[in-house]
């Protein structure tokens, strides 16, 4: 993954978070993506979210597959371990890492090619397993690294840069996630940091797999007039379902009273997400209505964004696995090996 180191210069008056770290401490290498790439805005939102959440960088693990999107992991939190796996297989590697060490924060970054074509099976099964991780799909409807082929999320009628029209129906990761029982489903737009940052914060705090589909335009191959994943198209067609703000419990902040309906969802770590419906009848805890909302928006050629669904009572992978509280990697060998006497007794059973 291409990367250029940034000079380690800090502004003396830079604000620090509760850990004494500045935003710069949450940055990574210099991006080598095209200037104006939506993915870099996602990077900036991730930096902001992680800084605000005061994540200890070394207690986070950045996971990705292959593709433009998967480069993102190199561009934030340089003090975290990172893993670019193989195309479409980030979910399995993260499942294994999370099984081994439940004590880390797993941030997975993928793309529409990585997750909806070659990796669709792995994405589905990571959702089914409910791996405790943030799963970001940087969705631009196109294969950038191989120069402009349609991806599985390209809309019908969307055209390539050369003018060819896509005829196959798209796979919508949000509908997929809602159907498969994903416990946290959101969609946002790389150009809307106001919305994206609180969603990412809530997603990281969520216990279980939090899928965040981010429309992230490709300036080189899919930011033209015929594209439905361009900046212009997304700005015009975005419909926010739920406006979210995220409040970690340890830091008191006040939310201005607006008179609108505000719902508070408590995350498993005790933090709370405050949800304000832009549509007063929207219920983000109802999977069926969330699904219907996304479909209805699609029918109107609108893009449903915001926190679409959340279930904080779902069981995550470690609940299913019934693992001990201590991460498996921290168990001493003595706690794992039954020893000589047990083997002797066992041998008698094979007589």
């Amino acid at each position: 993954m291409t990367s250029i180191a940034k000079p380690p210069v800090k502004h003396p008056t830079a604000r620090t978070n509760g850990r004494g770290l500045t935003l710069r401490d949450y940055e990574g290498a210099m991006s080598t993506l095209c200037a104006g790439c939506g993915h870099d805005s996602v990077t900036a939102a991730l930096v902001q979210a992680a800084w605000e959440l005061e994540i200890e960088p070394h207690r986070a693990a950045k996971m990705s597959g292959i593709g433009c999107s998967s480069k993102t992991t190199a561009y934030f939190m340089k003090q975290s371990h990172g893993f670019n796996s193989v195309h479409g297989r980030m979910p399995s590697v993260t499942s294994g890492a999370a099984a081994a060490n439940k004590g880390l924060t797993y941030i997975g970054i993928s793309g529409d090619g990585d997750s909806l074509s070659i990796g669709l099976g792995q994405l589905s099964h990571a959702i089914r397993r409910n791996v405790n991780m943030l799963y970001v799909i940087e969705n631009n409807g196109v294969y950038g690294l191989t120069k402009g082929q349609f991806s599985a999320s390209a809309d019908i009628g969307s055209t390539s840069k050369k003018g060819e029209a896509n005829e196959q129906a798209p796979i919508d990761p949000v509908l997929l996630a809602l159907t498969l029982g994903c416990t946290f489903v959101a969609r946002s737009f790389s150009g809307d940091k106001q919305q994206l940052v609180p969603i990412l914060k809530a997603a990281i705090a969520h216990k279980g797999l939090a899928l965040v589909d981010v429309i992230s335009p490709c300036v080189s191959f899919n930011d033209h007039e015929g594209s439905t994943k361009s900046y212009a198209y997304t700005r015009e067609h975005e419909v926010e379902a739920v406006h979210a703000d995220f409040i970690p419990l340890k830091r008191e902040i006040t939310v201005p009273e607006t008179g609108e309906e505000v719902r508070v969802v408590e995350m498993h770590d005790g933090a709370r997400v405050r949800l304000r419906s832009t549509a007063t009848d929207y219920d983000p805890t109802n999977r069926e209505s969330a699904y219907a909302h996304v479909r209805a928006c699609q029918a109107r050629h609108e893009i449903a964004t915001g926190l679409l669904f959340v279930d904080e009572n779902g069981r995550d992978m470690h609940d299913y696995l019934k693992t001990v509280p201590t991460p498996l990697v921290d168990l001493p060998f003595e706690a794992l090996c039954p020893g000589k006497d047990a083997l002797g007794k066992l041998m008698d059973r094979y007589r």
Partner: protein
């Protein structure tokens, strides 16, 4: 070998229908013989099917302790009309055939030179038992009873085993007892029992157990401290993870909370299984998967990634006939080359080759040590015969002073002492760079990438940096040669030729060497147990002008590997190949050696 059968030295087999309950009767017979102190082996020759197709179980009794598949049988119990014609041919001249005489004798069963014993198992069971299911299932116990009379199996041993098994279910116990007596009494009343070849109690199994290789390897994973297992069901590897789960439930569940000190993930496919163990290995757990050839094919991309990024992971390959689905319930050693060089690009992998369940146990533990020490994928090349059949092996032993070899892992304190951590820097000159585990903090963080990287772990497409890295990996691989299990070598005075073999061929080749010696052909012997090949392997081959390389695949894969890696000329190695899917017999080896020696003037 013909005509040698006698007391505690013979073989018999049952031809039945898959799914009719014969497996438990056959297991009962084998275990009873074992408990009489007599060395015994059982081979299950079964179809790729749940119910209805022909299946065979072969039991070999050998007072001398030979455990290879018998080359001929003294007695056949023919209970499947669909295979009568085939079964009757497999009885050695002068041998016996037992069949169900409830119906008139099938013309297929007629053969001169063998003794045919009819026992009306079906009629006796119909007359005795009311339920259809009992009539079918207990017919198997009835033939076990008949064999007990004919072969002089200690009935007290059988009774004790039935009580162990059905003690808590008195009705079942009584029914089994009745069925056993039906067969036993009929044989005693109608035939001269015992037959000339039969059993006499011995004292040769006291330090042994009967166990299959999959169970043994699973136990090895438990004892090695593996905490993450990921897999996708595939014959003949499936039972391995099920056994691992069973052992973990026994040994790794917190008594107070009921919580698990292990994680077993049934993946969506073999690709995911490989990804899971690589993720877990990177995170610092001892992780493994169990699969067979088709699974290895699917895992190749990940294997290459783990190799190139120095991540430990253990792959237990229970080989079967390929390619494609091949014959999934038949054994072979046909994955040797695909394991050695798995994945695209320049790759070479560490392999251990167990020959029996005891080695499955020991070598699985070793595989985890090798994987972490050398930070690389390690394969345990088992096969269906070892993995799924019960073998008589010496009891497993464990040294409580064992501690896992975690290799070079830097913790926070280690990182304090160094100026800069570079993930792929070969400080010690052995090709092995120190790693850190996620979560360690400080300067220990690094990025795993399958794309070009330099010794610091940074992305690069620089030619020199790439070559430096892959050369380091080669150095690391070569250094492993003295750490993989050493070959087993034995010499006979005046040996003319060398026998070289691998894995489960051991039993047959050892027996063949004894037979050849009795006929005046002396051989030296080497069983290769690890890849890369050690210096001892090279020396053995250098000492012999001519060797026979015995393996179970069509293309002489072991010979190719020896030729490629050690430069031994092909002409100096005569392949003896059995790729029938059946476990190797000593006769196959003896005949091939003798034929070749007769053709080539000394």
């Amino acid at each position: 070998m013909s005509g040698k059968s006698g007391i505690n030295d013979f073989a018999f087999k049952m031809g039945t229908v898959n799914g009719t309950g014969s497996a438990s009767a056959n297991g009962l017979l084998m275990q009873a013989i074992f408990r009489m102190g007599i060395p015994v082996t059982g081979k299950n020759i079964f179809p790729s099917n749940i119910q209805g197709l022909p299946t065979w179980y072969e039991i070999r009794v050998s007072k001398d302790g030979y455990t290879a598949r018998p080359s001929e049988v003294d007695l056949v119990v023919a209970l499947n009309p669909a295979t009568y014609a085939k079964d009757v041919k497999t009885v050695r001249p002068g041998g016996y055939l037992v069949y169900d005489s409830t119906w008139p004798m099938d013309p297929d069963l007629v053969r001169e030179g063998i003794t045919i014993l009819g026992i009306p198992f079906g009629r006796m069971c119909v007359e005795t038992f009311e339920k259809d299911r009992d009539r079918t299932l207990l017919r198997n116990i009835a033939y076990a009873g008949a064999l007990a009379a004919l072969l002089k199996i200690d009935t007290a041993v059988i009774e004790a085993m039935l009580t162990e098994k059905f003690g808590k279910k008195p009705k079942l116990l009584a029914a089994n007892h009745t069925a056993f007596k039906l067969g036993y009494d009929y044989a005693m009343a109608h035939f001269q029992c015992p037959l000339p070849f039969h059993l006499e109690p011995m004292d040769r199994t006291g330090d042994s157990i009967l166990i299959d290789g999959n169970t043994a390897a699973a136990l090895g994973a438990v004892y090695a401290g593996a905490t993450v297992g990921a897999w996708y069901p595939i014959t003949p590897a499936t039972a391995l993870m099920e056994q691992f789960k069973g052992f973990c439930e026994k040994y790794r569940v917190d008594k107070e909370t009921g919580l698990h000190k292990y994680a077993i993930l049934q993946a969506e496919d073999e690709l995911a299984a490989a990804g899971i163990i690589i993720g877990a290995g990177w995170a610092g757990a001892r992780a493994f998967t169990n699969t067979s050839g088709p699974g290895i094919s699917l895992m190749q991309e990940f294997i290459g990634l783990a190799y190139y990024t120095d991540i430990p992971a253990v792959f237990i390959d229970v080989q079967r006939c390929g390619p494609a689905t091949g014959m999934p319930t038949r054994t072979q050693q046909a994955d040797l080359l695909s394991l050695a060089y798995a994945s695209h690009g320049d790759t070479k992998h560490l392999i251990v080759f167990p020959a029996d369940p005891r080695e499955c146990f020991e070598m699985t533990v070793q595989a985890f040590d090798l994987a972490e020490r050398f930070q690389t994928p390690v394969f345990v090349a088992s096969d269906l015969d070892i993995g799924m059949n019960d073998w008589m092996v010496k009891r497993f032993e464990w040294d409580d002073s064992y501690r896992p070899d975690r290799g070079k892992v830097l913790d926070a304190a280690d990182l304090e002492k160094i100026q800069r951590f570079s993930r792929y820097l070969d400080v010690d000159g052995d090709g092995i760079a120190a790693r850190t585990l996620p979560g360690v903090g400080g300067k220990g963080a690094y990025f795993v990438r399958g794309s070009g990287h330099d010794k610091h772990g940074q992305y690069t497409e620089d030619s020199d940096a790439y070559q430096e890295l892959v050369d380091r990996l080669k150095r690391k691989f070569e250094g492993a040669a003295e750490h993989v299990p050493a070959p087993i070598i034995s010499h006979q005075p005046g040996a003319e030729v060398g026998l070289v073999t691998i894995g489960g061929c051991e039993a047959a080749v050892h027996e063949a060497a004894d037979i050849l010696r009795a006929e005046g052909i002396h051989t030296d012997y080497m069983r290769i147990r690890g890849f890369p090949f050690s210096e001892e392997v090279r020396k053995f081959l250098g000492r012999h002008e001519h060797t026979f390389v015995i393996e179970q695949n069509r293309d002489a894969q072991l010979r190719s590997l020896v030729q490629i890696e050690l430069g031994v000329a092909r002409d100096a190695m005569t392949p003896i190949l059995d790729y029938s899917g059946m476990p190797l017999t000593a006769a196959t080896v003896v005949n091939a050696v003798k034929t070749h020696l007769a053709e080539v003037p000394a």
